[in-house]
Symmetry: C2
Subunit: 484 residues, 2 copies
């Protein structure tokens, strides 16, 4: 049975959806906690009880394990791990990225993954590190693509195969890889080798790489951001159109005595208090966890609870259309994430083309909100407004006599006719007192309108305190102010 | 035994501390969940197990209750409620604010609170609503002050009495009330009658009222923001110097089938997913809670867990000196809270005088971060830098020959000598790519330096892309740019 993916709701380039692989159906965005058979601080069954619908484990570890190899081949993964949800397996590519070599071929790992009953099999792709030069990235991508093709040929078009997208930090290669992976018929596409970017906080590069890969991939593909990771960046990744994550972080951080939050991490030794509502943090104090023999398990339980909660949070936001607000919230927690967010906002025109039309609300959260897709979409629609003759734009809210059309003004959107007062986004947006970023963005709406209607005569009345900024933003337009 | 309060750590005007009342010692910031004896979706003992060190209940309800009056007088509050932590009691003022009248006098309610063994007694103050005119606010404040004085006279200076601060929305009255309450010897001071402001999202007014009351109160007083409330505003209130909150919200919202988050609230009927890590939200789905006969209890447990977690979060932030970042995070969740936050930033000079000197870090989170107290403090210190002769401010990072002193530049702080490169805040601050808000604020640092040293000759080298803004910010200063 092939892997299928159905998009339910869209928000920015993100979506909620339904992923089917084998006989399993799961909701996206989805987090797959990583299971290491040799070290299980939280059992797969416990994860399911906390809301995890799928897990991921490493087929290569099983295939090389004297302890587990025969048993998993006989009993199957689901039985061995005690988990009846979706189980995805990695191929050994991770070990390739760490050790430079693995003792398994592409077809061997796929055959093994099939034998043990994995729901999603990953070919042995080559994870190109960010410091690889273009020649290496290109050569390694060619190997990856050949293996994807081989996988499709040997296992057939309906095998539950993932098609990883590589290409290093080269945007054109990532885009090409995305396009070719889609052309080969893959419907589940992990974007690979991004872990080093995240580990070194290179979120600007992460945004460029993911946006490039997404530009090549078909919109219908389910996209897995392989190796991600920390809950602080899930929202940003979903906004770009990533649907699936996997987290070894919950356990790796716990092993290092580190404590995850959706805003960053702490060492447990530096925490005076536990800033979390989970059952571990409401039952124990920071000091009790520090001194507990069970610290790794307690931290793993906490880390997993906040990671799963973050996925729920993102699903809720994407369902109601408030994902920009969640992205804004999470990305301000670290200046490098803020850079990544600001980088993503540079793609706002492209993202506006994918975003949905109506949302629960638009809450202005600071200057960055002036670059949201909803404003692009609104101002595009505004240009199609039929106008003629003398047009008054009453930024100050005062209608005046002697005009053919009177428009009001709401920053950061711009001018609006009274008929749009109750519709999205004018009617469902809430802003604090005007600030210069939103006024400038609103003026761009005026500018687009005046450009679109060269035969109309526009008059703008600005409130006193915004008069100078409005004049600067609207050169050549008649801007007035009652007090001047 | 009098109520005593010890400040441990400071951050902005907030603090962590230790509050002693009766034989109970609790940590602040502190949340007192409200117990209504007639309706207890979560038992006081369960609250304690979740981390609540204190609770608050209404003595007036007990005093008027046919069911409980005699029993509580005989057994005492702690035994009756099964709670051995701190118990504060309200006097009936809340009923006064709702019904306009109560059938108890100031001395009667205090005597009753003493009899039932309350750890903190509240006199019968008059809660003046925000729409009261000045004359009414002033007259009611006089009654409140007379009752506070009466309480002190009758029960003695060592009685565990709270001294509520009233005054409506009149800042001078609030400040006066704060001063007089302090002068009467009260060390535990609730700021009263702010609930209507919060219910109508008037956070700008809330900030003005609290900052005025705090201006009058002695810094050593433990300040309770009476009736607050929603976890989204705890951080803002702590930043102003509030130490204690009480929450009926956990139960009232639950009764209305509403779901609290530190970023706002939802109706449970509109939630597709539960965006939370608490044990209720990891065990049940939104739909299961919706359909449960136990919905009110489950929602109460969730609401309480997130409220207590938010207090832990704030304590952790204040301990490490990252409270501004938490305030920034929480206040962006609603445009009216953002207004309140921006209002608070207008007090940054006063707040800088109360803030501590060194912190864990300074993360830049957007334009608003350019107004943080740490920048005020840094630029004040900068002015005391001994300088003479020719001074180069190398904004572009390139030292040049021919100057007596070379300073580098880090926005939003401003110029710094190499010797300060590793110290707070220069060394512990992280910023995304420069933006105009931070560059302008950094230029104010240059301006202060040039004003302070009129005999020095300053040369500024700006990076190309910031040249124009720097020239505009530093009129009359020699600004250069290598490329121009």
């Amino acid at each position: 049975m092939p892997i299928t993916f159905e998009v339910l709701e869209k928000d920015i380039a993100g979506r909620t959806g339904r992923l089917k692989a084998g006989d399993k159906t799961v909701k996206t965005p989805l987090l797959l906690p990583v299971i290491n058979p040799h070290l299980q601080p939280v059992l797969p069954g416990e994860m399911k009880a906390m809301g995890a619908e799928g897990i991921i484990t490493n087929a290569y570890i099983f295939s090389r394990s004297g302890e587990y190899r025969e048993e998993v081949m006989a009993r199957g993964l689901h039985d061995l791990l005690g988990f009846d949800g979706l189980i995805m397996t990695d191929s050994g590519s991770f070990q390739l990225s760490v050790y430079g070599d693995v003792e398994i071929t592409n077809l061997e790992t796929l055959e093994f993954q099939k034998t043990i009953g994995s729901d999603i099999h990953v070919p042995l792709d080559i994870p190109t590190p960010p410091d690889a030069d273009r020649q290496r990235a290109s050569a390694e991508l060619a190997v990856t693509m050949a293996r994807l093709q081989e996988a499709k040929e040997v296992f057939g078009p309906d095998a539950p195969l993932a098609g990883p997208v590589q290409g290093g930090i080269y945007e054109d290669l990532r885009e090409l890889a995305g396009r070719e992976t889609g052309d080969l018929g893959f419907s589940f596409c992990p974007i690979g080798a991004v872990v080093p970017l995240m580990e070194s906080y290179r979120y600007t590069d992460l945004v460029r790489v993911v946006m490039a890969a997404k530009n090549g991939l078909p919109p219908s593909a389910c996209v897995h951001l392989f190796g991600a990771g920390h809950p602080a960046m899930f929202a940003l990744a979903v906004a770009m159109g990533c649907d699936v994550f996997d987290s070894a972080a919950y356990a790796l951080y716990a092993k290092d005595r580190r404590y995850l939050t959706p805003q960053g991490s702490y060492r447990i030794d530096e925490l005076a208090e536990l800033p979390c509502a989970c059952r571990v943090c409401r039952k124990y104090s920071a000091q009790e966890i520090r001194e507990s023999d069970d610290a790794v398990r307690l931290l793993s339980l906490h880390n997993l609870a906040v990671s799963l909660a973050e996925i729920s949070h993102i699903r809720q936001a994407a369902t109601e259309g408030t994902l920009w607000e969640l992205v804004d919230d999470r990305c301000r927690s670290h200046p490098q994430l803020l850079r990544g967010y600001r980088e993503l906002l540079k793609y706002n025109e492209r993202l506006a083309g994918e975003d949905r039309v109506s949302k629960r609300r638009f809450f202005y959260r600071g200057e960055e909100s002036s670059f949201r897709t909803e404003i692009i979409t609104y101002q595009d629609r505004l240009c199609r407004l039929p106008l003629s003759g003398r047009v008054l734009i009453a930024m100050d809210g005062n209608p005046r006599e002697g005009y053919d059309t009177i428009l009001f003004f709401k920053p950061p959107f711009g001018p609006y006719p009274p008929a749009l007062r109750e519709t999205f986004p004018i009617g469902q947006s809430e802003i604090p007192d005007w600030d210069s970023a939103m006024v400038r963005t609103g003026c761009r709406g005026i500018l687009r309108l005046t450009t679109e209607h060269p035969l109309c005569h526009f008059t703008v009345y600005a409130p006193r305190e915004w008069y100078e900024i409005v004049c600067r933003e609207l050169p050549g337009t008649g801007v007035h102010c009652d007090d001047i």
